[in-house]
């Protein structure tokens, strides 16, 4: 946040994650060491080697659908519906009603990779056009182009800015906007642009939202080929653990409302005070002072987590935790989820544990094992490394009323 004299606070948050619908469910799951990762379930594919996934439950999906008008749902893959629901939660906490206040809004969105079109969109057609050597692609082309066998709205469900379009329509938001793709880098870009818009006075309230899912055979195959998720049938993601068996993917959405601190009533605030990014983790800028809390991404792979731990050691922190065992590895909102976790920790003055961690890859680092603990927390660093290369660092400062 170069040259920033205007402080930016998180005024509201919302999420739909494998841990449940809403921030409270997420915070409870993290605090009570309950993972949202479960047995992988799909009507489209099956696997014994990729055995677990961080699913958003059907019940939470149905709850989220109530936040999106029926006529818009035909344009929405599930992740976009979760995104709208997360935004509405965040606005409610921030006490904002776009259209009923005089604020100028900005909308900054990020989507994960394979939200749509997933193979499910073509599954029936492929099956129908299949012979012993696989699908006849000429026949499939004929079915699509001449017999109109494809969902006409598939292109809209597949938009990389579909989340932006649906949120703007659902909330009747006519405002500055940006859509970004992919995980940590997309979250970072959305947060950076939102902060810049607030600091330059172009907007008064910034909505930052990310959503995505990799629940698709081609998507999961790509993650497996890249070594991001395990193919050994593992059911748990053990972050920073020497006995880790690899990563497990998850899905979900998260949203933040950012405001200028000066525009908010007096009270405790969590302020986003620094943003850094780099394509190489080892070259990532880190603040030169020790922080009370560090929230880190994790891979579940002991070797990769040991590499990451070396960067964490460079940061210096009194306590280290991670949300990844709660949600799985997210493609749409990884940094936003970590910011929500960090904010809740700062507000509660409590550090949730790293679920399942028993033998840390670095015994000298202050990973939080077992149960959560109360602590004096004034600031928090969030370090994210994406599975496809990008790294980012965020700093949150806590301002109490005292």
């Amino acid at each position: 946040m170069t040259g920033a004299t205007v402080r930016i606070a998180i005024a509201g948050s919302g999420c739909v994650l494998p841990s449940g619908w809403g921030v409270q469910r997420f915070w409870s799951a993290a605090s009570e060491a309950r993972s949202g990762i479960a047995v992988l379930q799909s009507k489209v594919f099956h696997s014994e080697r990729v055995a677990a996934f961080g699913h958003v439950s059907d019940e939470d999906h149905q709850t989220s659908r109530q936040d999106v008008a029926q006529n818009l749902q035909r344009y929405c893959p599930p992740a976009v519906i979760w995104g709208v629901s997360a935004v509405r939660q965040a606005l409610a906490e921030a006490g904002l009603e776009p259209g009923n206040d005089s604020l100028r809004y900005g909308l900054y969105c990020c989507q994960g990779g394979y939200t749509h079109p997933s193979l499910a969109a073509y599954g029936e057609l492929l099956h129908e056009c299949r012979d012993e050597s696989g699908a006849d692609m000429r026949r499939l082309a004929q079915r699509v182009l001449q017999e109109r066998a494809l969902d006409p709205f598939l292109v809209l469900k597949s938009l990389s800015n579909g989340l932006l379009g649906i949120v703007s329509l659902a909330l009747k938001l006519e405002c500055e906007c940006n859509a970004y793709m992919q995980g940590v880098a997309g979250n970072l870009a959305a947060l950076r642009e939102a902060c810049a818009a607030l600091q330059s006075g172009r907007v008064d309230a910034a909505i930052v939202v990310g959503a995505g899912s990799e629940l698709d055979p081609l998507a999961l195959a790509a993650l497996a080929e890249a070594g991001v998720i395990s193919t050994n049938g593992s059911q748990t993601l053990r972050a920073f653990d020497r006995q880790g068996t690899g990563g497990i993917a998850g899905e979900g959405a998260a949203a933040l409302i950012l405001r200028r601190v000066d525009d908010l009533p007096d009270g405790p605030q969590t302020c986003l005070s620094a943003l850094f990014a780099h394509p190489r983790l080892g070259s990532l800028n880190l603040p030169d002072k020790q922080v009370d809390l560090l929230v880190s991404s994790a891979s579940g792979d002991p070797q990769k987590d040991a590499d990451l731990a070396r960067t964490l050691a460079r940061a210096g922190a009194a306590h280290i935790t991670s949300s990844v065992p709660v949600t799985g590895i997210l493609s749409g909102a990884p940094s936003l989820v970590d910011l929500i976790l960090a904010r809740n920790a700062l507000l509660a003055q409590r550090v949730p544990p790293i679920i399942g961690l028993q033998q840390p890859v670095d015994p000298h680092l202050p990973f939080v094992l077992g149960e959560g603990r109360d602590a004096v927390l004034r600031d928090c660093l969030i370090i994210n490394r994406d599975d496809n290369g990008f790294s980012a660092c965020y700093q949150l400062d806590y301002q109490s009323t005292d």
Binding site: V44, G113, M137, A141, N161, C175, N178, A179, A196
Partner: protein, 424 residues
């Protein structure tokens, strides 16, 4: 004058049938279309196989200049490096310049969809009920050796690593507006003093069968019984959809101080920008053009100009009924009585619609018009039959010195963007 002026000091471009910006500009001047029959679409038996696409010959030349084993990288990274090298060379910069400056990378791109090879691969792993056996799929190697080959941010990562760019790194995915919004975001970051140097634009590779299926199923693609080169006909009454295309373009932006310090020759300036979501519909704007009008007005205001200062508009002009109608009405509203002093062009008539790539490509063509004083014709445009006679679209190239161009990009999802560019 702005607090910090933003100069354009270099650009690079690859489009169908053109491996650089000068070649593309010259092709359009000569009214040569870049749209032709796509051999893959023909092989799949499409009735209409018209597309703009980067062909195998072009890919060989692009890969030949890659600083590594191109087969190990996603195609979008290979293309991005090729275009970035052009832009840097044009700007007189070495790649190390970015690591030594406060710099940023802003690249537009939408999704890289699966293709027939991926679908065929998956279909071979289906059981009798149609469910895919993921374990079998994992044992069936993908055609490409590149990891994350379908991930849209890989070209951004590759360039950020190659150029040593940190912090300001973004992959803009605002559908058809992404290229313009990437350039606009870079302009803003320089203008507010956060960075001094940026490379920005878009890389789009959507000319394959799955995007074709999806856009066609929505009714957005031209299916007229016309030669490929005549199918994209923006603003004509018989327009009936866009022609899918692909391509990439990037520009180097610098703060005036940075450019002057290294004695760079400015090619143009970014004067203003607007990016708004309009909350109307997913696929079209307000029928009266008012939302597009608001976007253009906001960009002109950001430039500190009046609409009468804009002399030329590079329209979004997709050749769909709805978009061109909304844009034409918006242009009439913005320019009012000044219309006769403004000329218009629609580059998609020659290139097709390269989605995210289009805004960046059109920005580069606009910069050449500003630099060289040559305005591009709109192919397949007939003055005698036009639906909007008050808008002066050129059907022949025109030599005329201009100072200000506005370039529009409007995307599905209701995202609108306008960029105001000025002569150096």
């Amino acid at each position: 004058m702005r607090t910090r002026e933003v100069y354009v000091t270099g650009f690079g471009l690859v489009a169908p049938m053109a491996l650089d910006a000068a070649t593309l500009f010259e092709r359009i001047c000569q009214k040569q279309s870049c749209v032709r029959e796509h051999p893959r679409f023909k092989a799949l038996g499409f009735n209409n196989s018209a597309a703009g696409f980067i062909d195998d010959g072009q890919w060989q030349q692009i890969a030949a200049g890659f600083g590594g084993n191109a087969t190990l990288h996603p195609r979008q990274s290979v293309l991005a490096e090729f275009v970035a090298r052009q832009a840097l060379q044009h700007a007189g910069l070495t790649p190390t310049a970015f690591a030594h400056a406060r710099s940023g990378l802003f690249l537009g791109a939408n999704k890289y969809c699966a293709d027939s090879h991926d679908l065929h691969r998956a279909s071979r792993c289906m059981d009798e009920t149609g469910r895919v056996d993921l374990d079998q799929l994992l044992d069936t190697p993908a055609a490409s050796r590149a990891l994350f080959g379908r991930r849209v941010d890989q070209q951004t990562l590759h360039l950020a690593e190659t150029l040593g760019i940190r912090d300001h790194i973004s992959t803009h995915s605002d559908a058809c507006a992404a290229g313009t919004m990437a350039i606009g975001s870079a302009y803003r970051a320089i203008e507010r003093g956060e960075i001094d140097l940026a490379i920005c634009g878009a890389v789009e590779l959507m000319a394959n069968e799955l995007p074709y299926y999806m856009f066609n199923s929505l009714g957005a693609l031209c299916q007229a019984d016309l030669p490929a080169s005549e199918q994209s006909r923006p603003f004509m009454p018989d327009r009936c959809g866009f022609v899918i295309s692909e391509g990439a373009a990037m520009v180097v932006l610098e703060s005036a101080e940075h450019a002057q310090r290294r004695k760079a020759t400015p090619l143009g300036r970014v004067l203003g920008y607007a990016n708004v979501c309009e909350a109307q519909k997913m696929t079209s704007s307000s029928r009266d053009g008012s939302k597009y009008e608001e976007c253009m007005e906001a960009a002109i205001e950001d430039a500190g100009l009046l609409s009468s200062a804009v002399q030329h508009v590079n329209t979004h002009g997709t050749s769909t009924q709805a978009n061109d109608s909304c844009e034409a009405l918006a242009l009439q509203r913005v320019f009012g009585e000044c219309q006769e002093h403004v000329t218009f062009t629609a580059n998609k008539s020659a290139i097709g619609h390269s989605l995210a790539g289009s805004g960046a490509i059109e920005a580069v063509l606009s910069l050449i018009s500003l630099r060289d004083g040559v305005l591009l014709p709109t192919l397949n445009y007939d003055h005698d039959r036009t639906e909007y006679p008050s808008l002066k679209f050129l059907s022949e190239p025109m030599r005329q010195s201009i100072n200000v161009v506005m370039s529009n990009s409007f995307g599905f999802g209701g995202v609108n963007s306008s960029l105001v560019l000025g002569r150096a």
